[in-house]
Amino acid sequence: MIELEHVTKIYRLGTFGQRALRAVDDVSFRVAQGRVVSLIGESGSGKTTIGKMILRLIPLTTGRILFEGNDISALSGRALKGYYCKVQGVFQDPFSSYNPIFKADRIFRILKTEFFPTIAPQQWDERIREVLSTVGLVPEEVLGKYPHQLSGGQLQRFLIARALLLDIQFLVADEIISMLDASTRIDVLNLLAELRNNRGLSILFITHDLSLAHYLSDEAIILYRGSIMESGDIEKVFQRPLHPYTQILLSSVPRLDQKWEETEIRLKVQEGKRTAGCPYYDRCYLAEKSKTCAALKPQLVEAEVQHFVACHRFREIPKEVKHAAGQTRGTSLT
């Protein structure tokens, strides 16, 4: 449904644009219909940039983004609006997503003006009630209120409801859970899962939290400094991570079923200067001054069915990986 082909984004810094910052470097992936794909990365990985490029908020430098086969950068005017009817986004900070001087349900009114100018008011109200109940909000509690009178969880669900008003097929969810409380998080996640199951909605779930990704997604893409390190079916990536970075990520997540390994995480003083080789080179425990790793950027190869990795030395990862996802609290996984 959504396909990225060799997408790159370079920011020019400095008064005359002398310095270049590669926020996204030759990223290609696909999100099929009815699938939740997690874009996992830490800060500076480029995940938010990708999300914004899909939403046409930031222009690409090179590459293409295709929606149902059509290049979205060619869209404008009517066609662009048509695109937004099918593709929407929800952002990280629920409080920043609303204009504080207006009421929260103004976001619905904006949609009505832009997309449904001729619809009858009664019909519109019906639709609003419908989507509000889908996301689990009580209309009387949330309509007619200002953003500061609602909670973060309500605001996020409101935004999801807004996206549903348009009957979308693809949703970009950019860190939408991170600012919510633990008890609301799971409800919003469950909501997303239901939307995928019941309506066939495709979701690009951008996050840095691996447990959330694992709970919800079908596939995972691990991003580091703008490049894909590993991707594929989520169970395979999490059970048997093939990239050193994925291993480090998985071993760093605090868990309730086991204590952290005593292995040390070596923190670098600064992330080294970008070399031509693998972006992870200067933090990689596997590279060990390998000339190949320093000079040649690894391409994504299919290590096994539905499991891709970009690493020259992934075969050297021991079969018995200590950092993989284990069994939790009685749930057994095959």
Binding site: T15, K52, L55, R56, L57, L80, K81, Y84, Q88, G89, F91, Q92, D93, S96, S97, Y98, N99, P100, I101, F102, I107, I110, L111, E114, F115, Y146, Q149, L159
Partner: protein
């Protein structure tokens, strides 16, 4: 729940009224406005007419005393208030408009538009306005209050442009602007309906500062002799007073009232601004 949550509008007015700075400032300004309107009707004299003995201190006939030439100081005072407000509003308003337009365009468009406008702003900022005025004074035979207002408006806008640009940049990065974009809103509409309303409170404060600044500016220009060639204003009163030796002769009633009035008026405007800032920005409020 016993109390219903107050609506934003009422909360705003509640704080606005409770804020003593706002109240005091507005009261003082209002007082002077009233004086400017009503004052000329309270006095039987004309500002330039020779109506009494020269250099008289305040008395029952002449409330502020008389000038060196036997003119009534009080009459001059109340007549001189009007131009002060005129130049303040016109000059301040012009500076606000220019500064806002330039600052906003620079902030919203970014890129090379931003660079060019920034350079322009900085150039205007460093031009010595006094020197420029001297040159203009040499060429313009007659200077009116209107010209003075325009001049002030055209030279005082740079800091407004910078402030507005900073505000615009911060608003532009807020996620509700992104949301408006993916709702299919066109850029012009986004600016008008999302960004500008957010900036209104800021612009009000900017205008008040420009207003006060313009008054000061005008008074300074008048005082050093670069004011209008005709008419009377508070600054001009002070200039004439000092030119004619009011200081060594101890004729305090001639220059103290206009000076005090300017100080009070501008001070009141600044206090109003501080109060408004507290009203608009909840974090500054004292409980």
């Amino acid at each position: 729940m016993k109390k219903k949550p107050r609506k934003v509008k009422h909360e705003f007015l509640y704080f606005a009224w409770r804020n003593w700075k706002l109240r005091l400032g507005l009261l003082v300004v209002f007082f002077f406005v009233l004086l400017a309107i009503v004052g000329p009707h309270l006095t039987p004299y004309e500002p330039w007419a020779y109506v009494g003995p020269s250099a008289r201190p305040p008395c029952k006939e002449f409330w502020f005393g008389t000038t060196m030439f036997g003119q009534d100081v009080f009459t001059q005072f109340v007549h001189g208030l009007y131009p002060v407000f005129l130049v303040g509003v016109l000059g301040g308003g012009l500076a606000t408009v220019i500064g806002t337009l330039i600052g906003f365009t620079a902030g919203y468009r970014g890129g090379w538009v931003d660079e060019i406008l920034n350079t322009f702003t900085n150039v205007v900022l460093v031009i010595p306005t006094l020197a420029l005025l001297l040159v203009l004074a040499a060429y313009l035979g007659v200077r009116s209050f209107f010209i003075q207002a325009v001049f002030i408006g055209c030279t005082a806008w740079p800091w407004t442009a910078r402030a507005v640009r900073a505000q615009t940049l911060s608003l532009k990065a807020r996620e509700f602007v992104d949301l408006a974009k993916i709702s299919g809103m066109r850029p012009a509409k986004i600016v008008l309906t999302e960004i500008v309303p957010n900036m209104l409170s800021y612009l009000v404060m900017v205008f008040i500062l420009q207003f006060g600044g313009a008054i000061l500016n005008a008074a300074t220009l008048d005082f050093i002799g670069l004011g209008p060639t005709r008419g009377i204003s508070l600054g001009l009163m002070m200039q004439i007073a000092l030119l004619w030796g009011a200081l060594p002769l101890g004729m305090w009633w001639w220059f103290v009232p206009p000076g005090l009035a300017i100080a009070l008026l501008v001070g009141a405007l600044y206090i109003t601004n501080v109060g408004l800032d507290e009203v608009f920005n909840p974090k500054l409020r004292e409980m």
